[in-house]
């Protein structure tokens, strides 16, 4: 491009650049700076000193460690299960003709439903109150089991509800993406495979999966990022006091540090946020590297 045109190009880009700069780049840098400023006070704009103290504090805070453990558990459990299940559902959806539209609509419903409303439904399903044990417990008892308090009971029960809920909420988007990915595979590949007598399983693993692998990797990467940023789902089920429930997440911890009952510590919140950022960045880079190696065209 000619040099005389350069300033014009920048001019056209300016609105977007200003927007991104003010709302994305500046806050990012700001958070990074806060995370190294000890005891930063947003009202007086003052701080005691500069150093790693905030990180040290956060990393030694049992609430934070609990949040990291919860977040990692949610990520490790929900991402593979939801992606796998979505793949299974999409393949089944693609192989039926009758009622396909109906099922597609049903699977898509959670996507358009309010998180808190869904949380309420899950409360009814799982919560123990003085009047009822919740629908799920009724079923457990029907089969002769002992009722479990899923909302305020043991850790594994709470984690189960949490993962169940997360998987259910993220499923529609994944099914949507995968059904359209499956539909976009050229039918001629399947015809060619059929003529060569390829078994269904081999067709799936050797043709379908590689063909839609870019979409699967996309879902895994966005799934990881989404699960690491989990917060609102936890609030929907366990309420705002997540630390008390022992079900806090990293984002929840950041929020608590800023605005929670024990809040007012932007420095700690910034340090926690930067730690989350580093974790997500690392995992995304690993994901991208793996997907590059496994996507062949």
């Amino acid at each position: 491009m000619k040099k005389s045109n350069n300033w014009k190009a920048w001019l056209y880009l300016l609105p977007a650049l200003i927007f991104l700069g003010v709302f994305m780049i500046y806050p990012l840098i700001d958070v990074f700076v806060y995370s190294f400023q000890e005891g930063y006070n947003s009202a007086s704009q003052s701080y005691f000193g500069v150093g790693w103290y905030n990180y040290s504090y956060v990393l030694h805070d049992p609430y934070f460690l609990q949040a990291v453990k919860n977040t990692f558990l949610i990520v490790i459990i929900t991402v593979p299960i939801s992606t796998g299940l979505a793949l299974l559902l999409s393949v089944m959806l693609s192989s039926i003709k009758k009622l396909r539209q109906l099922y597609q609509t049903i699977y898509f419903l959670p996507y358009v439903t309010n998180t808190l409303a869904v949380g309420l439904v899950f409360m009814i399903l799982f919560k123990k109150t003085p009047y009822t044990d919740g629908l799920v417990n009724l079923i457990i008892k029907m089969f002769g089991g002992h009722s479990v308090d899923f909302i305020e009971g043991p850790y594994w029960a709470k984690m189960f509800v949490m993962c169940f809920y997360t998987i259910w909420v993220v499923m529609p988007f994944k099914v949507l993406i995968l059904t359209s990915a499956l539909a976009s595979v050229n039918q001629d590949y399947y015809k060619a495979a059929k003529i060569d007598g390829t078994s269904k399983w081999r067709t799936f693993t050797r043709i379908t999966l590689p063909m839609i692998s870019p979409m699967i990797f996309y879902l895994i990467i966005t799934g990881f990022i989404g699960a690491f940023k989990a917060y609102s789902d936890e609030v929907a089920i366990f309420g705002t006091n997540l630390n008390a429930a022992g079900m806090n997440t990293i984002v929840g911890y950041v929020y608590d540090m800023l605005y929670g009952d024990s809040g007012g510590f932007p420095s700690y919140a910034s340090a926690a946020a930067i730690i989350l950022f580093v974790i997500v960045l690392t995992i995304t880079v690993i994901n991208l590297m793996v997907s590059r190696r496994n996507t062949h065209y």
């Binding site: 050229n186 001629d188 590949y189 015809k191 060619a192 495979a193 059929k194 003529i195 060569d196 007598g197 390829t198 078994s199 081999r202 050797r206 043709i207 590689p210 063909m211 692998s213 062949h296 065209y297």
Partner: protein
């Protein structure tokens, strides 16, 4: 492997439920001799691809039967028919290398047919050598040219040594130059392997140039079957006459009266043995002889000189084509200043068709489908014409 199609019919339900079914292939009866290259030819939507799909087993016929040799394969699923199919877009698996693509059909073999790794590699290499792509084995399809992809697709279809090879519009995705090369290549491969091959095309030139026999189809009905040259020289009806040949046949409204063929007011040819009636007259472009005193007068539009021969473009009020194109030897000089141009007609290049049925009316000793000896010489020039057109 001889293939017999016995009253093969395929109907599709109409999208508009109130109307009847759509017949894609109607009452197809045809023997495909062993080891021949057959071209299914017709305009798009004529049912030629459906016919191919029926033979491959990807579609099941509404009625009728298909035999491979003595075996009735009508109910057999495609994988048990022993066919190789080359798709129009080749359908090469993009994530697999050329080698893996060719190996794919072999890796599906189970039980007693299962091959060892060495046998598979050997067969794949053999197939690749046949289509001359053995140096590209480790490339991905996206790194190949259209012609190379085509060869890989053929190799993949051939590697299982199918009883029948089916090709769906095999050349339509290639550029003009490559098409010419590839069709000769197809012929060579077919003759080398001796596998009965059926290919579908809408390009009459393609079908004529490499087929042992062509099947001309229209709206699911066979119009004519025969050796390409026979079909060209003796079309069974107006559709076939119009469909074959570049440049296309010139068609006129004409009348037979008192044993003479009239176009407009001029008696252009004797038409012995034909009852008086209105007819369509089809004249092949090479059927015109330039003659100042000729019987047939057209209004000259322009003259295109193309080296070996000359194309005279003219008009006539009885012509159904916008312009009449006649091919004459370049040695004849056309007076371009003149308003009119006069021709004599070669009787064996003139076809009469019934106005109602559009079926051929033979006249003056014309024979159906067989080529008279005196026509041999002109046939050569006709064949020469088609070639010079395509180059």
């Amino acid at each position: 492997m001889k293939i017999t199609l016995d009253h093969l019919t395929k109907k599709f339900p109409n999208r508009d439920k109130t109307k009847g079914d759509v017949t894609a292939v109607g009452d197809f009866c045809f023997d495909i001799p062993d080891g021949k290259l057959i071209g299914l030819l017709g305009p798009s939507g004529c049912g030629k691809s459906t016919t191919l799909n029926l033979i491959s087993g990807l579609e099941t016929p509404t009625s009728g039967r298909i035999f491979f040799g003595e075996d009735d394969v009508t109910k057999l699923p495609p994988e048990h028919r022993g066919i190789g199919l080359v798709f129009q877009n080749y359908a090469l698996y993009p994530h697999l290398t050329v080698r893996q693509n060719i190996l794919f059909p072999l890796q599906n073999l189970k039980g007693k047919n299962k091959l060892s790794k060495e046998q598979m590699n050997e067969k794949a290499l053999e197939a690749a050598k046949l289509v001359q792509i053995d140096e590209l084995m480790d490339r991905k399809p996206s790194e190949l040219s259209g012609g190379q992809q085509q060869r890989v697709a053929i190799a993949r279809a051939l590697v299982k040594m199918p009883r029948v090879l089916l090709l769906d519009e095999p050349l339509s995705n290639l550029d003009a130059r490559l098409r010419l090369q590839t069709r000769e290549e197809l012929r060579r491969i077919q003759q080398k392997t001796g596998i009965t091959t059926i290919f579908v095309t809408h390009d009459q030139e393609e079908a004529m140039s490499i087929s042992d026999e062509i099947v001309v189809m229209k709206s699911g009905i066979i119009q004519q079957i025969g050796k390409p040259q026979d079909v060209y020289d003796s079309p069974a009806n107006l559709f076939v006459a119009k469909f074959l040949g570049t440049p296309p046949i010139d068609v006129f409204n004409g009348t037979v009266k008192g044993g003479k063929l009239y176009i407009g007011d001029e008696a252009v040819l004797p038409a012995v043995g034909v009852e008086d009636q209105d007819v369509y007259v089809g004249i092949r472009p090479e059927g015109f002889i330039l003659n100042d005193k000729g019987a047939f007068t057209c209004q000259l539009q322009n003259v295109e000189v193309m080296g070996r021969d000359t194309s005279v473009v003219s008009t006539h009020k009885e012509s159904l084509n916008v312009t009449i194109r006649s091919i004459i030897s370049a040695e004849n000089k056309v007076d371009t200043a003149s308003k009119d141009v006069r021709f004599d007609l070669k009787p064996y290049k003139v076809f009469l068709f019934n106005k109602e049925t559009e079926k051929r009316i033979l006249f003056g000793g014309q024979l159906a489908a067989d080529v008279p000896a005196e026509m041999e010489e002109s046939l050569d020039t006709a064949a020469g014409r088609t070639d010079s057109q395509s180059k």
